[in-house]
Amino acid sequence: MKPESRGSAAKVAEPPSPGALDCLRAIRRLMALCLLPGCLHVGTGAAAGAEPVVYRLKWLQNSSTVGDLYADVHGFFAARGLSVVVKPGGPERDAIKELELGHSHFGVASADQVIRAAAKGAPVVVIAQIFQVNPLQWIYRSNRPPIDALAQLKGLTIGITYGGNDETIMRTVLAKAGLDESDITLLSVRYDFTPFYRGRADLWPIYRNSQGIVIANRMAQSGEPVRFFNPADFGVHFVANSVVVHQRLIDTRPDLVHRFRQALLQGWQAALDEKNEARALETIARFDADTPPDLMARQLQVTRKLVRPTPDFAVGRLDVEAWRQTEEIMRARGLIPRAVDVVSRLYRPGAP
């Protein structure tokens, strides 16, 4: 069970000088021990017999992470002999760096993070793609005509986070539409929605399944219904969050990777099953006390469509074409200096 190609990744992780190999290995072991406070901490608190694992999310614990939380709370990890600490993420967290530093065993990272890391030699491997449709979309008021063609973006004021992957996506959309920066106005996005509320921006980036529900609800209450602009509807498939692991763990503990992946995906599958909706909502509510239950239920419905587009869809499937396109987009936008063959970083269970 190895990724299609791991040669380049493994090569980067190896020490440069064969002569000093033993010495470096010894020092690295020592460093690894120093760099593993999280894992050691987990080890002391883990249930007897269960293997301690640290799993770093990309963002806060809410409906976007329902499967991760469900797998933990409802014993999917425990059933496979794992004692998993699911740690919330945040803007200052980078799961890939944590994997390399040994602070986490598994993590969630966006596709652009994975590709940037691969371009800099990080031996990262994607073991599951949670979101099949990117939840990063743009909200706009319904009082303007629906955007059915990309040419309709001309003349609009569009919010983007400079440096964020919404900038990359929007610039790709604009390139696809044959528009350049003089045809539209770009507005820098901050943490608050004030420019959108005040009408300074026509389109504002938003996470469709979390903020999108809350903002749409708030605007509907003030008599301003909204719509969402989804780049995927226009052929721009930029992969969103995925579960990642360090190549070292695949090499040394393939069974652990296999058990974790199986438990996690089963957790997601169960959490998105309509039959388990009440339990899933109850699970989210334990971690997200600020979202009202009705909005949470709507967030879960939207998350379900983004993660499992059809009822029989196998959660976690790696959309190879979308990954390829994501790399091409980043390459075209100059965000990576050279091709990284990201497909070789995708985990293939059962591959030789």
Binding site: A13, P15, K97, G121, Y191, D192, L335
Partner: protein, 255 residues
């Protein structure tokens, strides 16, 4: 003074960089976690012009913010030196405002004032004014009895004179804290830009963080350090100059 400041900074920066690189090679970390020397150099080559302009932009706001904070701290210090109810009230209010972390207030400031120049200036001034205020309050509340006694006894004491005597007697303390607060002004501006502005080196650092690019952050830190060293050296030099001039012109006596 300037050369000393710069090479002291270079030593600290080089030591920090060496530590990072040592960690990188010992733990076998990729360039994604800690960039190697060639990548850092390449990044420097790619971004130094843009980042230098951003740093100058930030420094300009920091300098103006510091001037604003000096004026504010002086005004509050002069009013707060009085042992009256109002003087006490001003002192307590100034302390209470400082109790709120700026990162909690910054979003409110940004929502009210937008993400332009005024907001960055306000946050820079707010961050660096408190240490100035403490020193100004301390200096202004402490009578210089041996001099003030004479003026009081002869009925010539006015508040302007009192302020002048106390400032003169503590000039070294005041110039030291002004030079020191430059760091805070710069840090305050960078925090403001990082949180929500659209310009400056703090904003560039935020973008670099989005892109997980430690190389760019190291370059930004280098430019911030250099510009701050130059600015602090200039402040120290100006402080020495003022001190000498007061002593020479007034012959050491308060007019």
């Amino acid at each position: 003074m300037l050369t000393r400041r710069i090479y002291q900074f270079l030593i600290v920066y080089a030591a920090g960089l060496a530590l990072l690189l040592g960690l990188k090679y010992l733990a076998g970390l990729s360039d994604y976690v800690i960039p190697g020397p060639s990548l850092v150099w390449q990044t420097f080559h790619d971004v130094w012009g843009r980042y230098a302009a951003d740093t100058l932009d930030t420094l300009t706001v920091a300098v103006l913010g510091q001037v604003a904070s000096i004026c504010l701290a002086t005004a509050i210090g002069i009013v707060g030196r009085q042992t009256t109810w109002f003087g006490n009230f001003v002192k307590v209010a100034a302390y209470n405002v400082q109790a709120y972390p700026i990162v909690a207030l910054a979003p409110i400031i940004f929502i009210l004032l937008g993400d332009g120049f005024i907001t960055r200036l306000a946050i820079a001034a707010m961050i660096c004014y408190f240490p100035l205020l403490l020193v100004v309050l301390g200096v202004m509340s402490e009578p210089v009895e041996e001099i003030e006694h004479f003026y009081r006894m002869t009925g010539r004491m006015r508040w302007q004179l009192e302020v002048k005597i106390r400032a003169f007697e503590n000039l070294h303390k005041l110039t030291t804290v002004v030079a020191g607060s430059a760091t805070l002004a710069m840090a305050g501006t960078i925090v403001a830009e990082f949180i929500a502005a659209n310009a400056g080196i703090g904003y560039s650092i935020r973008i670099a963080l989005y892109q997980s690019d430690l190389g760019k952050i190291l370059i930004a830190l280098f430019l911030i350090g250099i510009s701050l060293s130059v600015y602090q050296a200039l402040l120290e030099w100006a402080g020495t100059l003022v001190h000498r001039r007061w002593e020479m012109v007034e012959g050491g006596a308060v007019p």
